[in-house]
Symmetry: C2
């Protein structure tokens, strides 16, 4: 099972840059996308459904803002939109698809970069989300694959300039601690598990100052899998040469027969 997570920075923009052709080539079983930025009119996803994908969208209230969508070749057994908390669901941040072998939770976590108010909102979200996932685990929704733009990372290997970003949103001590705690609840960072402590592998680069060309990035898009799935990770990667957005797709391949 090939699962991809990809922050598109606008679904329409990404489609205009050839997203559908790339999806047709790679043909992931499940494609989790974030920041779809749906407008007042419903988004046209026919370019992807025409490839045989089932499409599930969870949009924000505010036009052109946030929103997630999951595309899957197999029809899911169940689909759950949102997390039941309106302050988050109004921003279109969570979408769950349950399959026979796993449950894929697609999430777009808040960015704290626009100010202290949003950083506080993000931290509240992080704690809420950890509780929410524990509840899913307790309810037997498992094994979970939590795909998405986490907007944070854990170790100094996960960003090019860790020293100068000790207190930047996405790498504050509080967020790093949260990441450790979250993993300790029973998750495996599929990329790190597969590659070990390799440096310079990122999933996001600011559009400013040619950061991507110089690989000045952050690894903030993750595919965390239930520890029970770790032995089934056949492959994991950051697809840094795929460019439809300021993020790149991140991928995990799970082999349920292994």
């Amino acid at each position: 099972m090939n699962i991809i997570s990809y922050n598109l920075n606008g679904l329409r923009s990404a489609l205009s840059k050839g997203l559908a052709d790339w999806v047709a080539q790679v043909r992931p079983d499940v494609l989790c996308v974030q920041e779809i930025k749906a407008g007042r009119e419903p988004l046209d996803v026919s370019a992807l459904t025409d490839l045989g994908y089932h499409a599930y969208l969870h949009t924000a209230q505010k036009p052109g803002y946030s929103g997630v969508a999951t595309f899957s070749l197999e029809k899911p057994l169940a689909v759950v939109e949102g997390c039941g908390q309106s302050c988050y669901d109004d921003e279109g941040r969570v979408l769950r698809l349950d399959f026979a072998h796993c449950s894929v939770l697609n999430t777009y976590m808040p960015s704290g970069t626009s100010g202290p108010e949003r950083q506080a909102f993000k931290v509240e979200w992080l704690h809420f989300f950890r509780r929410y996932v524990r509840e899913l685990q307790a309810a037997g929704v498992a094994p979970l694959v939590i795909a998405g733009d986490y907007n944070c990372c854990q170790t100094e290997l996960d960003l090019r300039n860790p020293k100068t970003n000790q207190n930047s949103p996405g790498f504050t001590p509080e967020e790093r601690q949260w990441f450790r705690d979250f993993l300790a609840d029973g998750f495996t960072d599929s990329f790190r598990h597969h590659h070990g402590p390799v440096p310079d592998r990122y999933s996001w680069w600011t559009y400013r100052a040619g950061a991507r060309a110089r690989n000045v990035g952050w690894r903030i898009d993750h595919l965390l899998v239930d520890n029970a799935l770790a032995p089934h990770i056949r492959h994991a990667d950051m697809l840094h040469d795929v460019v439809h957005s300021d993020h790149c797709p991140v991928q995990v391949e799970l082999d349920f027969n292994a």
Copy 2:
């Protein structure tokens, strides 16, 4: 004296489409532009001052909105920004440059197309402007050349679809009457004077539905000159093949020796 009036629909946009090269070619003595759409930062007009032009700007309060500018090769004897009425001056609609042989009044008249409130504002403006010009005449500011986007026209020859636009902003009976009255105060429509009742000559085409390609337009940009200047009109034209905007430049050449 070659005078051009040109609604640029954004000075920066027009510059990006080669405005400066065109100005360098034509080299008008006076260039009156409208809808410069200055932002919070001062506009960079060095591309024009580098050609030897003196630059005078009258910007609106609201960033990115309205505003006029006049560029002249000769340094004017006097420059008057605005008309002394703050409700109009806040929108950057009037700029006067006095020269030895004439006074060039550059104006961007309100458009009434965004709703009845703005159409009412436009009609008030029209009456105010007529009074204002009479005061200038009375004060001996003469002979006047009133260049600009009038956002209205007078006769059925001035727009492609007069029948369906009898009550459209820019061609209401009230505005047509105003135009007649304004001319009766002592002005000559230089284009009409030079060409007579020719049809199909416009200065603005909506960007929608390929109107310009089909020449579905309006002649709403005018160079009205004091009747005393009419004998000095050597040439007048709509430069419809010059494209940096949804308007085209309009031109008059005055020969003060004739």
